[in-house]
Subunit: 200 residues, 2 copies
């Protein structure tokens, strides 16, 4: 995009370039693509943006994104509401749902504690998690944050808050990925796999 | 995105996934990102989409995208209006403008002839190019389509139409890219470089 380009195209390019993972070149390509779309298609796209932002909010219980008062999981009486799986982001829930093996409910933190990036515990949805546990029905909280420094630290911080409330706090197991090859595993993963070895 | 996701988010994801080069996973990431944007930012994005589509159209002379009646190049009396550089897409103009060495005007075809993809000469902006040449002031038309089968075929087709009108039709030179290495050049490029060799 340069001075010979139409200003509204430059503005649209800059908007695309604000999105994560989209540089100025890709943004320009997307803006040109919008020019080749039908006017109705562009209206639909703009409407989808506004509609998602206006109608989607956090579930009153688990903080997942929903356009209802409660998300479908919290609203489902057949789920096990005594087991909460704590995840960093809404998209992590999709991974668990795909396994079809988790029948409990979720809690979305919307981030990880990271003093370096200025993210403190109060910036995350931790208070609502503590409040859920304080209600007394929850029996187990599974910390399912990523196995990174920040994920581990956040899990440890929350475990420290919840354990005194008399609830069982667990952490996902770490080890070799199924189908993975020993020779390609990094040292930490291999160490975890050794440490957490099971009797056959 | 799955059944536990809010429907407006699924709709937005599908809209992003329609864009070129964006798969379902990236689209979901972008949709989640929109949720984390301020409401005003989302409004600006939607407005930029609608505004670009509503106000940007084809220049009456050269078919480039513009929000004015004429694009800045066609509207510039200091440009050489007797030399037309014919390109496939609006973004090709940016490449020539960056060289700072072309002082003529442009004509944008908005595609290349490709019978296999159902793109026939009448689907491109060829008639308006012929009409420009027929007005009699144009002295040279430089075919600057890409050096591909379709780019060459389109250039040849247009040259056939324009030559009888008494205008000089030229094609960009093909050869080794400046700074390129002989050993990495493909055979066709090397053959072109040999064929078009110049006296030193």
């Amino acid at each position: 995009m340069a001075e010979h380009d139409a200003l509204p195209l430059v503005v649209l390019t800059e908007q695309f370039a604000k999105l994560p993972g989209i540089g100025m070149k890709s943004a320009a390509r997307l803006a040109y693509h919008v020019m080749s779309m039908d006017a109705e298609e562009v209206e639909e796209f703009a409407q989808a943006l506004l509609n998602a932002k206006r109608t989607v909010h956090y579930c009153r219980i688990c903080e997942n994104l929903t356009d209802q008062e409660l998300c479908p999981v919290c609203d489902d009486p057949t789920r096990d509401h005594t087991t909460i799986c704590v995840v960093e982001q809404p998209k992590d829930i999709a991974a668990f749902e795909r396994t079809g093996e988790f029948h409990g409910v979720y809690h979305v933190l919307h981030g990880l504690i990271s003093p370096l990036r200025g993210v403190l515990p109060d910036d995350l949805r931790i208070r609502s998690l503590v409040a859920r546990v304080q209600q007394g029905q929850v029996q187990e909280v599974i910390m399912a944050t990523n196995p990174t420094v920040e994920g581990d630290a956040t899990a440890a911080y929350i475990a420290q808050l919840l354990t005194p409330l008399g609830v069982k706090v667990t952490r996902l197991a770490f080890g070799l990925p199924v189908g993975g090859m020993l020779e390609y595993a990094d040292e930490v993963t291999l160490y975890k796999a050794l440490e957490n070895r099971n009797i056959m």
